[in-house]
Symmetry: C2
Subunit: 139 residues, 2 copies
DNA sequence: CTGTATCCTTTCAGATACTG
DNA sequence: CAGTATCTGAAAGGATACAG
């Protein structure tokens, strides 16, 4: 292995764990121009994680998603679903029936991502109460 | 195990994977009032993930963090660090020297979280290029 | 070097009303 | 049922200047 760039602590070390996003290694997630930044923003948008995880096991209908994810507005549900669908993480199926029925489910890509998300959300669920219960000026 | 609530597909199934945040099981991450929502918002804030992962291996100084995380403003770095510190994920150490030196490193809690974040960021790094390169009206 | 304070712009997000 | 359109207020975020 040839090392050309100067070793720069975290950036390179974590970079080697994550791997560069571009084959030439010019960009990783710490670079502002990196596409992984865009995707990360989509996923970590206010509702992205919750929608994906809600679809972990099931195909859900629009109304089911809306009821499952407490507090989401129709606007944000539609908006986030569109982004997720465009990222090929969620698949939208329209049944040409009256009344209309639309199903949402994860793509293979989405399911793959979901498996990374579940442990994260599990950790948050377990530790959230402890974190929030020590508010020293918390937002 | 006593089941009192009607089984509601994803909400309960994923809920059983994640576990309830409150011991009485009244709230999980899908509930808007759940504290895990707050913590999740902190972590998935625009810069939260990046800061935590940047500190994965190293203690970093303010300036190092600023240079590592490309594109972050001083304001957002300070703001996000304060939230993370308050959540007991990041530890701030002030050395009383001139010129001033301040170190940031992960707490045990933060390191634990970081281990859930690395696989996620790794996945994003590997798949981002493919996702972004198929823009059918992408934002 | 490590931040704060201020101003300003952009984006997010909810409420409401409406459509096929 | 499954959305869209529009409006409005709140919040996030960035640039710049300044302070200890």
């Amino acid at each position: 292995m040839t090392i050309t760039a100067p070793a720069k602590s975290a950036r390179d070390r974590v970079g080697s764990v994550l791997g560069p996003t571009w084959p030439d290694g010019t960009a990783n997630v710490f670079s502002s121009a990196c596409p992984s930044r865009t995707v990360l923003d989509h996923i970590t948008s206010k509702w992205g994680v919750l929608i994906i995880v809600a679809l972990a096991d099931d195909t859900l209908r629009w109304g089911e998603l809306r009821r499952t994810i407490d507090g989401i507005s129709e606007k944000m549900l539609a908006q986030t679903l569109r982004v997720l669908e465009n990222d090929q993480l969620v698949l939208r199926t329209v049944h040409g029936t009256i009344p209309p029925r639309v199903d949402y489910r994860l793509t293979d890509l989405g399911r793959d991502l979901c498996e990374k998300l579940i442990p994260l959300l599990g950790w948050v669920s377990q530790n959230a109460a402890a974190i929030v219960s020590t508010p020293r000026g918390n937002a």
